[in-house]
């Protein structure tokens, strides 16, 4: 994890409505120096809107936007110390690679020799050395992406905003760019705010993940926290796969679902409180029927490459299990879960 300094951007109760539709319902978020923060959520959850508010392209209806402690909600985008990498790159088609990257510096009337140094250095950083005179419209998607990143980075912004920048790339290139983006962020040491709907991308690149749905923040945490300790059903469902089961907390460290008592490690709930339990498919073990906490029958087996996805039907429900051991359809099996792999969360209000 990168060492994080002071809070650089603060959002306090940000709201936004488009045509009677509330897109943001009170967003509170602190973004720190050197942080790689990802806004993750399904399309229409408001993540891009947050980015556009920070960039200054739209104005929030309510709330405060602080940059180093100063309210910047009325500052026009061209005076903000942030730069954006756009979803479809938005390169200037009438300029070559060099002039695209130099655009921001030329606008600020930086001395030509300094512009030249900075542009060359940044092009090298993104792996486009010697591409200066190329026509940007003739570059591949990955190369255009790099130009877009260079064009933003060359201005040495305090914060770089990235709006689903890898969305248009094919799967393999995307993986490569993920690694490279993370490397660039560590090299230049500035804050990245990254918007994506791809959970894998979010988990593999970020220091902090902000999960959003319907204009609200659902959970803020490290990728590990988000995956292992989802705070509610939405997060559990959106990040990875899970079995979500309604149940009751009998007492500290004992939860009952499907009429069976399971020892667990969660504490601090009220006695008999209604809760939901998350079981990740890879955390359920298949054992002999007589040794299992639950008993069921294998109904379906699908090969997924690294593992098999096995559906086991108990008399209450179906469980999804990921395991590397194959099972025959129709076999009676027992299911077991370690106490520390049971995650108990509050039921959602809606």
């Amino acid at each position: 994890m990168a060492d994080m300094g002071n809070c650089i951007i603060e959002l306090k109760g940000i709201t936004k409505t488009f045509d009677d539709q509330q897109v943001l319902r009170g967003i509170d978020l602190n973004i720190y120096e050197n942080e790689f923060l990802t806004l993750l959520g399904p399309s229409g959850c408001g993540k891009t809107t947050i980015l556009r508010i920070i960039a200054g392209f739209i104005e929030a209806d309510g709330g405060e936007l602080l940059f180093n402690g100063i309210d910047i909600s009325k500052v026009p985008p061209y005076k903000r110390e942030v730069n954006t990498v756009f979803q479809k790159y938005a390169l200037f088609p009438f300029l070559n690679v060099y002039d695209n990257v130099a655009f921001g510096l030329n606008i600020k009337k930086v001395d030509k020799t300094i512009v030249d140094q900075k542009v060359k250095k940044t092009l090298k950083l993104v792996g486009l050395e010697g591409f200066d005179k190329r026509d940007v419209t003739l570059l591949s998607g990955g190369q255009q992406q790099r130009v877009a990143i260079a064009r933003a980075l060359v201005n040495e912004p305090k914060v770089l905003l990235l709006d689903e920048p890898l969305g248009a790339l094919d799967a393999k290139l995307r993986k490569e760019m993920q690694v490279e983006l993370k490397k660039i962020q560590q090299e230049v040491g500035i804050t990245f705010i990254f918007v994506t709907h791809d959970q894998e991308e979010a988990l593999s690149m970020s220091d902090t993940v902000v999960v959003m749905n319907e204009g609200k923040i659902q959970q803020i945490g490290t990728p590990v926290d988000i995956y292992n300790e989802p705070e509610n059903r939405f997060v559990a469902n959106f990040i990875g796969e899970s079995n979500i089961i309604g149940g009751n907390m009998i007492r500290d460290c004992l939860v009952r679902f499907d009429d069976v008592d399971f020892p667990c490690v969660d504490k601090g709930f009220k006695e008999n409180e209604e809760i939901e339990v998350v079981l990740r498919p890879e955390d359920i073990d298949i054992v002999e029927p007589e040794k299992g906490q639950l008993v069921g029958e294998v109904t379906n087996v699908v090969f997924k490459g690294v593992h098999y996805e096995i559906m086991v039907e108990t008399d209450k429900r179906q469980y999804k299990i990921h395991t590397t051991d194959i099972q025959e359809v129709g076999t009676k099996v027992g299911l077991c879960v370690d106490p520390d792999l049971i995650h108990v969360m509050y039921t959602m209000e809606y």
């Binding site: 960039a55 061209y78 756009f86 655009f103």
Partner: protein, 271 residues
């Protein structure tokens, strides 16, 4: 059977082209005639060209036509481009209304526009002459510029302007450095249209001019009442200018593109 139809279609094309070009050819040929006859070619001479150059009235008309076309094109291009950009940013109702209103002057018969402008200038007590002709030309050229620039503005990616502002460009810098360069093809088409519309306009110019100010169309109209091969000489020069402009307009970009391709290929080989 097939061969026969091919011969027929070839003949048809030839006839079409003859129909287009014979009148022009006749004009050109008789501009070099040594006598005043428009039916009998009596010998080659540059008599009508020398007469044309020494004719103060015709030279004044050439000056009026060219200068009005240049000024009207410049003004209407700026006006039309700004209007098109503004329209693309306005609400749908306003945009659709403006677009339909913009089409009216284009569809309207010239004579109606001409009389309308004439009455307008008279009622406002503006003395008719060079300025009224220029104003009228700006008025009928601007809708053409809007029509050719607007689709380009509409197809412009919004994030280009955002990107420019994000990189520190003020709205005015964004307009000059990003929006205008992106819609250049539309603006060029607008310039070309406006210039040709203005240069060969007769009806509107005839009604809004006064004080002895004449453009080429008006003077030609006045001269056709008697046989005067000077007109042929003038027409030939106009044809020659257009021909040269067309050749430059078509050949230069082709050569430029070929060179650029070659250069990119050479760089790729070098890498």
């Amino acid at each position: 059977m097939k061969k026969k139809s091919r011969v027929f279609s070839f003949l048809y094309i030839i006839l079409c082209y003859l129909f287009f070009y014979v009148p022009i050819l006749v004009t050109v040929v008789f501009s070099f005639n040594s006598s005043k006859s428009l039916t009998k070619f009596t010998g080659f001479s540059l008599r009508w060209y020398t007469q044309l150059i020494s004719d103060q009235e015709i030279m004044a008309a050439v000056y009026v036509s060219v200068s009005i076309a240049i000024f009207a094109t410049a003004i209407s291009t700026v006006l039309g481009t700004i209007t098109a950009i503004g329209m693309s940013k306005s609400k749908k109702v306003l945009r659709d209304t403006l677009l339909s209103v913009n089409n009216i002057p284009i569809m309207n018969p010239d004579i109606v526009t001409a009389i309308g402008l004439m009455i307008l200038f008279s009622s406002m007590m503006i003395a008719k002459g060079y300025i009224t002709m220029l104003l009228a030309h700006v008025a009928f050229c601007t809708p053409y510029v809007i029509t050719s620039v607007y689709p380009k503005v509409r197809s412009l990616d919004d994030s280009l302007a955002n990107a420019a502002m994000d990189l520190g460009a003020t709205p005015f810098q964004t307009l000059m450095k990003v929006i205008i360069p992106s819609i250049k093809p539309g603006i060029y088409a607008g310039i070309l249209l406006a210039f040709t519309m203005s240069f060969d306009d007769f009806v509107i110019s005839y009604f809004v001019t006064g004080n002895g100010v004449q453009n080429i169309s008006i003077i030609v109209y006045n001269m056709t009442k008697r046989t005067n091969p000077t007109i042929n000489a003038l027409s030939t020069i106009v044809i020659a200018v257009i021909l040269v402009a067309l050749i430059i307009g078509n050949v230069v970009p082709a050569i430029y593109n070929k060179r650029k391709d070659k250069k990119v290929k050479m760089e790729e080989n070098a890498n």
